[in-house]
């Protein structure tokens, strides 16, 4: 080790990144203590890596405002050793990207260009508070700056709840680290602030080698974890290099790759590799190979390497991954519904929070944006005075061209429609589990101030057990009394959910359908038995749901999840979640974890 006098070595002052925990069976309930320390250590590691290589984009930090977050931001900025700036809330693009400084120009009588925040920052760090409210437009502009070679790093502070969508994906896709900060107790005291990277470390970064098998391993892991974007493995490579540079290694070795995978790839995982329909093709590597810590492994060992790195990544996948998957689905649906360019646009002139102003005529029922209008009129004043000689009576000359009207964006309430399969095929024991899961989701929906509705289908009919309501108690009671047995009229159930969704939409709320079933329909739409017709009807109903653009998800309650429910989800263009026996506990645990997180 050389020249580490100023910076604390990774092994001494800083807790290292979490090592693969044996068995990886961290339950949500005892996630405090050691796990919290590890998460904190991971976060600090990410900050140091970002400091060394701002090309990593930045950190998406999900944490409530509070001393813990401030502590981390302080540490991260100290580690970067570069200038930092906080993005002002509601900053105009000109403030951020530069442009003509109107005030100064008017005062000076000559054009005064204001340098944007980004230009003054250079390679510094931009701290974005409330990043979850960032508009896709701003995110796209920031992304564009990066693409054009800007070198700033971003610290996106997201105060959203565990299941909220977070900053626009165009942004998060470019940030290497996605972190959730654990709560910290006051007694923990201040953490040691990491020093900025030393000259030696910076110099080393440029010469760190990347053995081809490490590159292959990281790319394969990303694919195995269902990370489609190719930016992720690229960022993982960068992270691996930075790790090697900090640890004074000539090239990326297995340990560095493992850490990089754990830091960059694991939080992006959209599936676990051990899914039932993905049998492990390769035999487990012989132990000799697995223990081979040598970074000069032959290319033939790439697979074994991939397995090892994958293991490390898996160990650091948070236990609530399922809950997050569901949240992503919800987020996707939400974004889908926002779709600025599309028809379903709830931006209007009437109510809601402001969404900018546009040129327009306030006589058509819109509200005048006074400041916007004056701003538009301001530059013309000298010209107009010239045109109206002698009219210089100090009044501002406003013409119809200047008028700006205000636009608003409404926050639309969501109604989650639970359509529950209460048929005999969803055997009694499973029904109880399903009820439990629904109850948890109900509680979750309640926390988010959503309305819930409950439809149960069995035999030849679907019953609306609970019209849209906010009353959790009522919902629970109806659910408890839900009888089971009979055929599975899946098509009827979906159709009932669709018609309720229609009603909800007409009322100006947004519907979201959660279908809990094993997908094994055996009662057709007209009530007649027969599996093939029932399946076809169910598919048709699912497509109708998609055509109506109702976001949906299918939770497979079957003992052995098979294609039926998955196909149904595909037909709905919805999210598919399996609730197989072994994972039932995990799912409810994950749900509870999400609830605890949001309730705190």
């Amino acid at each position: 080790m050389t020249a580490l006098a100023s910076a604390p070595g990774p092994s001494s002052a800083l807790p290292s990144a979490p090592q693969p925990a044996a068995g990886a069976t961290v339950t949500v309930t005892d996630a405090a203590g050691a796990a919290g320390d590890a998460a904190w250590g991971t976060a600090l590691w990410a900050a140091r890596l970002l400091a060394l290589d701002p090309g990593l984009g930045g950190i998406w930090l999900r944490a409530g405002a509070g001393p813990a977050r401030e502590e981390f931001v302080g540490a991260a900025l100290a580690a970067s050793g570069r200038p930092a700036a906080r993005m002002p809330m509601g900053a105009e693009p000109a403030r951020l990207f530069g442009g003509l400084d109107l005030t100064a120009t008017l005062r000076a009588g000559r054009p005064v260009q204001a340098a944007g925040l980004l230009a003054t920052l250079g390679c510094g760090t931009l701290v974005v508070p409330m990043a979850e409210r960032m508009t896709p437009g701003l995110a796209a502009q920031l992304a564009q700056r990066w693409d054009a070679g800007a070198g700033f790093a971003l610290l996106a502070l997201d105060e959203g709840e565990a299941d909220e969508p977070g900053p626009p994906p165009a942004l998060t896709d470019r940030l290497a680290f996605h972190l959730t900060l654990p709560p910290r107790a006051l007694r923990d005291g201040p953490t040691p602030r990491p020093a900025p990277p030393s000259q030696a470390e910076r110099a080393r970064l440029g010469s760190v080698g990347m053995p081809d098998e490490m590159l292959m391993a990281l790319t394969e892991i990303a694919a195995t974890l269902g990370v489609a974007t190719l930016r992720a493995p690229l960022l993982a490579l960068r992270a691996a290099r930075a790790i090697a540079a900090l640890e004074d290694k000539p090239a990326v070795d297995a340990a560095a790759a493992e850490r990089a995978a754990a830091l960059v790839l694991a939080p992006r995982a959209t599936r676990l590799p051990a899914e039932p329909d993905q049998p492990q093709q390769s035999d487990p590597p012989p132990p000799a190979e697995a223990e081979d810590r040598d970074n000069q492994a032959a290319p033939g060992d790439a697979e074994a390497m991939a397995d090892r790195v994958l293991e490390a990544a898996l160990a650091s996948i948070p236990p609530d991954v399922l809950a997050r998957l569901a949240a992503q689905g919800a987020a996707r649906a939400q974004v889908q519904a926002q779709g600025g360019g599309a028809g379903e646009d709830r931006r209007g002139a009437g109510r809601g929070r402001p969404a900018g102003s546009v040129r327009g005529d306030p006589r058509r029922g819109a509200r005048l944006d006074l400041i916007g209008t004056l701003t538009a009129a301001a530059p013309w004043q000298a010209l107009r005075r010239g045109a109206h000689q002698g009219r210089d009576d100090g009044r501002i000359l406003v013409t119809p061209d200047d008028l700006r009207i205000r636009r608003h964006r409404q926050r639309v309430e969501r109604v989650v429609i639970f359509a529950v399969d209460a048929s005999g095929s969803a055997a009694m024991a499973r029904l109880a589990e399903t009820k439990g899961a629904v109850e948890l989701m109900l509680a979750e929906a309640y926390v988010r101030r959503e309305q819930v509705a409950l439809i149960a289908f069995r035999g030849t009919a679907a019953d609306l057990l609970l019209p849209p309501t906010r009353s959790l108690v009522q919902a629970k009671r109806r659910l408890q009394g839900l009888p089971g047995g009979g055929g599975t009229p899946l098509a009827i159930g979906i159709a009932a959910a669709l018609s309720l969704a229609d009603q909800v939409t007409r009322r100006g709320q947004r519907a979201h359908v959660a279908l809990l079933t094993d997908g094994r329909a055996n009662v057709a739409r007209d009530g007649s038995p027969g599996r093939p017709q029932a399946q076809a009807d169910a598919q048709a109903a699912a497509r109708a749901l998609r055509a109506a653009r109702v976001p949906a998800m299918v939770i497979d309650t079957g003992l052995r999840p098979d294609r039926a429910a998955r196909d149904l989800a595909a037909a709905m263009d919805g999210l598919y979640l399996a609730l197989p026996r072994a994972d039932a506990r995990a799912l409810s645990g994950a749900l509870r974890g999400a609830l605890d997180g949001s309730g705190a």
Binding site: L100, T105, L215, E220, T229, L230, L234, A342
Partner: protein, 338 residues
């Protein structure tokens, strides 16, 4: 500005590369819509396009990119200052960021001059800068509606007209719109969809070997761009020369009646509305024939561009779960049995 990733070094994504190349050969094909997941190289491909396009000869000093040999009749600059000499500019590839204001797109009163000198002058917007080149809209599906309307209007007329309180400006604005987006985040209005000549669906490569090659090249580029760019410069130059040659050959490429008939049959079979589909299909096939140095358009050319030219023009059919691409392919097999 750092140098863009070389076009030739993009791994796979052949359809996207072909679509962009064809619009470079014949801009009248219209725009290209690239829909697909994040991190599939959409913006990389568009940004690398600039290096691929032959530079344009423009009137020196003209902010509207007027051609020197034929300045646009109504060009505000060239009618005031007679063109003196030509200058060579790189073909414009202009970014239209989300959240852009209307003024910035169409152009507006030159604030600087209005404020400081009390002069009424027009400051050209992004549409002027994109003339004779490309206008790139990332996340086109999230673009504000009123900007979309404006783009539709200008794209249809090839001319940008600004009428504001004594400020009357009319300048040519012919450009190829390249839009990219992620369909999961919002659909595009059918009117806007139809304005794009070609559409491409991109996906992350599923083959591990291909993914690894993408990462390997991108990593090499990010580590040390200079040698990487040098390594690919020859390939890019070759490609550019092919585009130039194809442009020159374009008018000479024959379109046999038999091919035109097939084009019509295909569009009828698919129920693609309007003549726009047919026209685009024919132009794209012709551009491809020119690019491949063929003398006449052959059915094989048609087959290669049919999906791109037609898949976004089909009526949505919620009961047909097959994707549009599959439907185009099905129709292809009927009309042009292999």
């Amino acid at each position: 500005m750092t140098q863009a990733f070389p076009f030739s070094a993009i791994v796979g994504q052949e359809e996207m590369k072909r679509a962009l190349t064809l619009t470079a050969v014949d801009p009248s094909i219209g725009g290209v819509l690239v829909f697909g997941d994040r991190g599939t190289g959409k913006s990389t491909a568009v940004r690398s396009l600039a290096a691929l396009l032959p530079p344009i000869a423009a009137v020196a000093g003209c902010p509207y990119n007027c051609a020197f040999d034929a300045p646009a009749p109504g060009c505000p600059h060239c009618s005031a200052h007679p063109p003196e000499r030509a200058e060579t500019r790189p073909a414009p590839v202009i970014d239209l960021p989300l959240g852009v204001t209307e003024d910035r797109v169409v152009g507006a009163l030159d604030l600087e001059r209005a404020l400081t000198r009390g002069e009424k002058a027009f400051e050209p917007g992004l549409l002027a800068r994109a003339h004779r080149g490309y206008l790139y809209i990332d996340e086109v599906n999230l673009l504000e509606d009123h900007i979309v309307d404006l783009l539709l209007d200008v794209a249809a007329s090839g001319e940008n007209v600004v009428e504001r309180e004594g400020l009357s400006v009319r300048h040519p604005a012919r450009f190829v719109i390249v839009g990219s987006g992620n369909p999961e985040e919002g659909e595009l209005r059918p009117q806007l969809l139809d304005r794009f000549g070609l559409s491409v669906e991109v996906a992350s490569p599923t083959e591990t070997a291909q993914r690894i090659e993408v990462i390997r090249r991108r990593d090499a580029y990010e580590r040390d761009p200079a040698p990487f760019l040098k390594r690919w410069r020859a390939a890019d130059t070759r490609h550019r020369k092919k585009v130039l040659a194809a442009r020159e050959r374009l008018d000479a490429v024959a379109v046999p009646d038999a091919v035109l008939e097939k084009t019509a049959e295909l569009c009828i079979a698919l129920g693609a509305d309007g003549l726009r589909g047919e026209l685009t299909l024919m132009r794209a096939a012709r551009a491809l024939a020119a690019f491949e140095a063929a003398d006449a358009v052959a059915p094989a050319h048609l087959a290669q561009v049919a999906a791109g030219a037609l898949r976004h023009r089909l009526r949505r059919d919620p009961l047909d779960e097959a994707g549009s691409t599959v439907r185009v392919m099905r129709a292809m097999d009927e009309v042009l049995p292999r």
